[in-house]
Symmetry: C2
DNA sequence: AAACCTTTTGAAAACGTTGTCAATCCGGAG
DNA sequence: CTCCGGATTGACAACGTTTTCAAAAGGTTT
């Protein structure tokens, strides 16, 4: 096991000082063509690669960005386990990061106080927050100097940090309007909780569709947990006996839970009850019935967030961005039966 | 923005040397109760947290483990995008890592030569390989001293590295045997390619079920890509007009693709054709038909792999482990129609 | 009170970079 | 020939830890 070459080895071989090597390799200062060639030559002969750790120490950067998922019950599993939404997001982020020479540190941190320490200990260059976090986090962040981009939050909650999200209000509206135009009147709105502004906006859009038609707005049904199959299933079970003819869900995952519960109760989708999802994850096109849903371009969102973060880290602060959504009509919705 | 306290600050405040602080905080050497108390006091007053980067430099470790996914077409997205298999795996790993004070660096690396550099530049303490990698990687790894644990590979290919996997052969057998015992004779085996030993073992088990009954073994159907919905869909389309009465898939994801293609061709599951999956991801219980599949305990596998890695890193080399699988019979399989 | 342990402590080197500053080199102007 | 200015280079400090090595302190035993 031979020792890895250090900058000193390169310097000696090239017959120059360590500083000179650093200048050449980082293209940081004018260096004569001749020594430059010698250094490059030596570096390649020794297969020299600068050590990130040592570099971090002086430069106070790490070339790493942190991707932070909310912890529920001390595990990120509870939020990301069932939903390929996160797969797309994370792989988009990882791709952008890697292409720009950054590595991705993936984590869920338990207590708000930990964030500061973690970021500082690791000298993280930037942070990507995926989902909803307690407000104290943002205050904590503001007191540090780490660039950050938030995904799926609203800036009114986060102060100065740019947020990448979608037009949730429109999404809620599109789903409701679609069902209303099919002739449904008794429509349930299934949310995972209106503490989350994303859910709030979707419900607002849902509400607007009713208001524009002068109809009274149904109050929401609240699931007990995050976007999980079982949350949907439990509500579906409850709604199976009700007079609702349509159900708007705020994720595809909960919609699948709902559909399954209805099926088990002998209620057919879409013949007896229509169901819409939200996200348009890959599988939603392949189930039977395939899912009518509000499509958001997840990878686009992840890519944009990562790119904005990197821009910000380079000193060009980026603004937030809100992406459009559209309705994808598939098999899970139909006019109510007569 | 006040400067973060360093070990020097603590030392000065406690009236001792930096070394003494290090001794106390790392519990590395006997220190008198009195100075110990002073140091602890000072450290807590200053809210001192050691800097990982600086520590890495002397200790040559980073407190990070790398989780490596295969890159297909320069993106990890193509392998992990649609399948919550990876969600469970990654969240299990992250949990164990975090509980042991490690952070998780997530990546897909393009060329084998990059691994070495990446591991050394980052001073990674351990590596977790998720899936199949070119053999040259293992040779490359052997020449380094990084502990590593492989997931979903077979040790005969990897030399000395411990591997955490499941009894794939049994899985293949159980699926085939289940269908055979239902009375199916013309059964397709859908694989993503027999270059992957995991697939090979599953096919071996499939084969054995036929041999034990003295039946001739069908040759496998090979999908063009990794485990993707569309791979399944394309093969399903092709098989829809065939005389097969049952299809064994090597992932739930491909099974869903198959089922959808059959549905679109007017072939009913399970009435006309039975389909089995592999993995038992969460959603498989919620689709209609719900999926008969070979269950593996994914989080258990991820947890075990991470724990073994950490054990190995602590100097107690761990052996590989093979977990059991079992058949979960749901709605997607039934006897062939008369 | 000297000699000798044993325990406890601290000064300084090391880790591998980058950045600061001063020194050297070179050619040309005076 | 001296002086000057610009271009190029190198010595050394700095980053924040851990570790090595030796010294100091505190008892015991003679």
């Amino acid at each position: 096991m031979k020792r890895r070459a250090t900058i000193k080895d390169v310097a000696e071989r090239a017959g120059v000082s360590k500083a000179a090597v650093s200048y050449v390799l980082n293209d940081i200062r004018k260096v004569s063509a001749e020594t430059k060639a010698r250094v490059l030559q030596a570096a390649s002969e020794l297969d020299y690669q600068p050590d990130f750790t040592a570099r971090s120490l002086t430069k106070r950067t790490s070339n790493m960005i942190g991707v932070i998922l909310p912890l529920v019950d001390a595990s990120i599993a509870n939020v990301m386990q069932e939903n390929t939404y996160y797969n797309e997001m994370i792989s988009a982020i990882e791709k952008v990061a890697r292409e720009n020479g950054f590595d991705v540190l993936l984590t869920g941190l338990a207590r708000p106080e930990e964030y500061r320490n973690w970021v500082q200990k690791r000298r993280l260059d930037g942070l990507l927050f995926l989902g909803l976090f307690p407000a104290s986090i943002y205050a904590e962040m503001r007191s540090m100097e780490v660039p950050a981009v938030l995904i799926d939050t609203y800036e009114e909650h986060t102060g100065k940090y740019p947020s990448v999200n979608i037009n949730d209000e429109k999404g809620g509206f599109l789903a409701a309007e679609h069902l209303l135009s099919l002739g449904h009147e008794n429509i349930a709105f299934l949310t995972t909780g209106l503490e989350n502004p994303v859910e709030v906006h979707r419900y607002k859009g849902f509400t607007r569709a009713f208001q524009e038609r002068g109809m009274t707005v149904p109050s929401p049904e609240t699931a007990e947990t995050t976007h999980r199959l079982e949350s949907g299933w439990m509500i579906g079970k409850k709604l199976a006996g009700s007079s609702r003819t349509a159900i708007v869900c705020t994720s595809d995952i909960t919609a699948f839970g709902v559909i399954r519960a209805l099926y088990e109760a002998g209620v057919r989708v879409p013949e007896d009850v229509s169901v819409t999802g939200f996200d348009d994850i890959h599988i939603s096109r392949y189930t039977t019935p395939s899912l009518t849903t509000v499509r958001q371009h997840i990878m686009q969102k992840g890519t944009a967030a990562a790119e904005k973060l990197i821009e910000t880290m380079k000193g060009h602060p980026a603004a937030g961005e809100t992406f459009d959504v559209k309705l994808v009509i598939r098999e899970s919705t139909a006019p109510p039966k007569q």
